[in-house]
Amino acid sequence: MTTVTGAMLAQVVVSGLLAGSLYALVALGLALIFGVMRVINIAHGTLLMLGSYATYWWFTYLGWNPYLSLPAAMGLLFLGGVHDPVDEKPLEKRAPELSSLLLTFGISISLVNLAQLAWTSDLRSVEFLTGSYLLGPVAFSKARLVGFAFALGITVLAFLFLGRTKLGKAIRATAQSREVAMVCGINVGRIHLLTFGVASALAAAGGSLVSVIVAIQPEMGQVWTFKSFLVIVLGGAGNYPGALLGGLLLGLVEQLSSLYLTTQVSEAIAYLLLVVVLLIRPTGLLGGRT
């Protein structure tokens, strides 16, 4: 249809990477939960939604700069996640993955409905940073650019936390093998809670960044949950750098297929990619557990 010029391609690649960084940030949380707790957290997108609303209310009633209130949103959801009222121990004994799927599904529905009751389905948004920087023919949306910077920054911090700190190593150890970690003296129960807290904080960060970009409404989290799963399969379950790569890849695939084909098809292409990766390399592009 339309001939694709270099400028158009550049624009779309930029859009893809900017969007992808957010996917990566949010998916990282999901990867952590799955890797450590073997829990399939369907409620992940819902956590993001809560982060968005927190940012919105703080912005509307307290005038807080959404980027400055981001740590607060992360802290809030961290506390929520760490006090995760759900006792997974009985689940871990039998069919952990299936039960956790149903459980988090239920939690997700409850939270979404509570949000609808409390805040109605009215669209909200944080009108903070609009417009873009123009670099030649390529426009960098301001909100997405700042989001990109934060997302990468937080992801890097998360990697440093996982790689360099004792707690981070304990988390990775638990992910590798619960039994051996216990033998090494790691309090696995506490690690699970901590992981859930960290993952919730990452989802909240995503929500905070996204509140300036998209419309906020109670069901906004759904698509983020789906995309996070896509990213994890692409990058490899439990593979944290894989989440980053997968996120950026997903962003690019979506935008490029929208450009060369149509936007309707781009959704299908993303899922097609998922199927292809599962068939050819089920452990994900960077490898991980199945």
């Binding site: 249809m1 158009m8 009215d122 609009t130 417009g131 426009a139």
Partner: protein, 403 residues
Amino acid sequence: MRSTEGSRLRGLWALLLAAGLLLPLGGSALAQQPIKIGASLSLTGTYAKLGNNQHRGYQLCAKHVNEKGGVLGRKVEFVLYDDRSDPQTGVRLYERLITQDKVDLVMGPYSSAISEAVANVNERYKMPMVAPMAATTAIFKKGRKFIFMVQSPAEVYLEGLIDVAAKRGLKTAAFVYEDTLFPKATVVAPGGSVDLAKKKGIEVVFVEGYPKGNTDFSAILTKIRAANPDVFGAATYFDDAVAITRQMKELNVNPKLYGVTVGGDLPKFYELLGKNAEFVYGATQWESTLPYPGAKEFTEAHHKEFPGADFSYHTAGGYAGCQILVEAVKRAGSLDGEKIRAEILKMDFDSVYGGFKVEEDGFQVSHKMVMFQWQDGKKVIVWPENLAEGKPRFPTPPWGKRE
């Protein structure tokens, strides 16, 4: 524990109150059962904003009808469920309303997509359905007998935009649409935007649909920016209208005329976008300033009943749809489906919404569409000329050149 003395007194009061209420009714209490009107509405989900407006229209209509003594000597009462903006859910709910809740009458849901889905249900049970929020022609051309259109059809939603473009000598146009029944019909159906543009000698350089729920329009807008059309029309609902407008600014897309269809007329559109909503054109089936009978009173009554609530033609359409049904029942003198249908087909009725007259298949032929532009935070009707209150601010200045 409450004292039994107190609760006995309370019981006595309740009895007296009930007796007091029942006495004046006298006659057969059964005939005073309210007439139940069943409907599903999109109270949550993608269409929530507009579904809730339509809901308030229904509520206000019922209130006014009852204040005037009801219909056939009985009050009316809506039995409403939330279809969550999902056609499949709507179908289930109408089945339930008709077979389990045994409603006497039905009213239509929000959107063409859901109206189309549920049309088969009320057709099967021969319950006439005034479908106030269905503007897709195809719904009414399938040989159905029990569905009636209130809106002007989807195909003419962007007619104002295209007409203004043609009059200003513009040469190229681009259209996008949410890939669902109504927006798609607006653009690509026979007699839709693409056809209208071609008829006026405007070249259509880009047409593309996007999936429902899409939030990232960068690729589409990048392609549009490259195609550089004079006119850009988007057949949208609300969320996407906001997202597209915002992202146009981000990607610096600057057509000389830019209009949306649904959603652009909601006060919330301007609230969310602020100054970025200026110069945007929108299609509307109705504005409170139009000279229709009772329109002003309806608007005032609405603001009194629902202070601060969002208000749009969806509210008025809901209200008028219910008005039309009640009028038809009055004229038929019965709740019989066939009799009501016969009356609806005979009607040449002016509601608060404008003209209502349908053909044998239920297709609307009397109602008129108008186009407005956001100017200084107000919607100014700019087309058609005989109903216009102001002139279009043309051309739309590029994003970089606005204050």
